[in-house]
Symmetry: C2
DNA sequence: TTTTGTGAACTAGTTCACAGCT
DNA sequence: AGCTGTGAACTAGTTCACAAAA
């Protein structure tokens, strides 16, 4: 490393893999724990053994964004934590809407992990008249899905979580895209078609369970 | 392929990647749709274009388990569907328990996608006295977590879904393992330590959201 | 001495391209 | 002619191993 001086972000990372960004989030969580425990400095090896990660990978992932470490010492916990929050875009409050006020949508709206990490659940959106105007147990208001566009025009909405039944997922995704939201976390089964420039991440519960089922089925063969 | 005659499963797949098993589940869903639509036969290319997949990959994934296709024709939808259900271990009803009767656990217990795909939600387990004895809206009974072991001894439990707050996740996982359950779907944030021979799959909502946040943060740099 | 940052080596996963079957 | 099954080529991701820094 010659050009890039320490602690400066490198040139815009042309294409960071999803696996890497997921790990960055994991590292941040580890650092939060260490910080809470009053640990001031940690080596990649220390992180690796404590949290079951690979030291070389940690170093490579971090080095990609700058020189955050000190040779012979490791990383300063608070400092690295700050860097990671910046890299992950968590230095501002991200505004999240949840589409679908069914069981899952309501549960996600009140999920404590989100607020904790600095996400702001702005509102729930649903098409069912009997739900509109009410709110989740935790107090997140339920709006008419038809209002999504105007809400998005009025206030910044960063991420949409889609938690509607499968047949509605694609039309809802289209609404979300039309509202100008650039990131989607999808819990509906099946693939969504999304234009370039919008980031989609899917959590497919059926696929997860069936993958476990495969493992069980294979295990039984050998037994 | 010389030794292995058509439609026979090949020798026990020594180590199938998770990516592959996830895709098998996706293929199954596609075939369900095609079958429901009355389609009798489909080529890998047809599947690929219709569901945004890669034809070569579909063929390779499937060929790993047997010769299910017919050259010049493609795959018979019903037949391949049956094969995939068998491979994924869905030819028997899998019995699932959910640990944690909070918002998320209750939502998962009533999630229609699971029952639909042949999973049986046997029960919810929680430590809170005021919840024990009640049931989810959909009628899944809530038991004392202390009863997990005896229930597991009495009846077969295939998969445990962990949906408890982070600090309880590891102790709960230990209970699940002690009860002899061999597959875990974990929704709690953070890593779980699990012995060899137990399959763990994690869905980390915070990581998912933060990964989206990263994308947004990067996008803003270029804009 | 300790530990980073990183090229090189390795491993895993995907896609190509085509022989061979129907 | 059409499409599978599969080696070969390629691409992505991980781990090693070590020079350079503190």
């Amino acid at each position: 490393m010659l050009v890039n001086r320490s602690n400066k972000r490198k040139q815009p990372p042309e294409q960071v893999s999803e696996l890497t960004t997921n790990r960055l989030s994991v590292y941040l969580r580890c650092l939060n724990e260490l910080d809470a425990a009053g640990i001031q400095t940690i080596s990649s090896q220390g992180l690796a053994t404590q949290f079951h990660l690979n030291a070389a990978q940690i170093r490579k992932d971090l080095a990609y964004f700058g020189e955050f470490g000190v040779r012979g010492v490791g990383y300063y916990v608070k400092e690295l934590r700050r860097h990671l929050r910046k890299i992950l875009g968590l230095d501002r409050r991200l505004r999240v809407v949840i589409i679908g006020a069914g069981n899952l949508g309501l549960a996600l709206a009140d999920y404590p992990g989100f607020r904790q990490e600095g996400f702001e659940i702005v509102g729930l959106f649903d098409a069912a008249n009997e739900k509109i105007g009410h709110e989740s147990r935790g107090g997140v208001p339920i709006h008419d899905i038809k209002a999504l566009r105007s809400v998005a025009a009025r206030e910044r909405l960063d991420i949409a979580v889609i938690a509607v039944p499968a047949p509605h997922a694609q039309p809802v995704a289209d609404l979300v895209v039309a509202a100008g939201i650039k990131a989607i976390l999808n819990f509906s089964p099946g693939a969504l078609v999304i234009p370039e420039g919008v980031k989609l991440k899917s959590v497919d519960l059926t696929v997860s369970l069936e993958s476990l089922s495969f493992y069980l089925a294979q295990g039984d063969l050998d037994a």
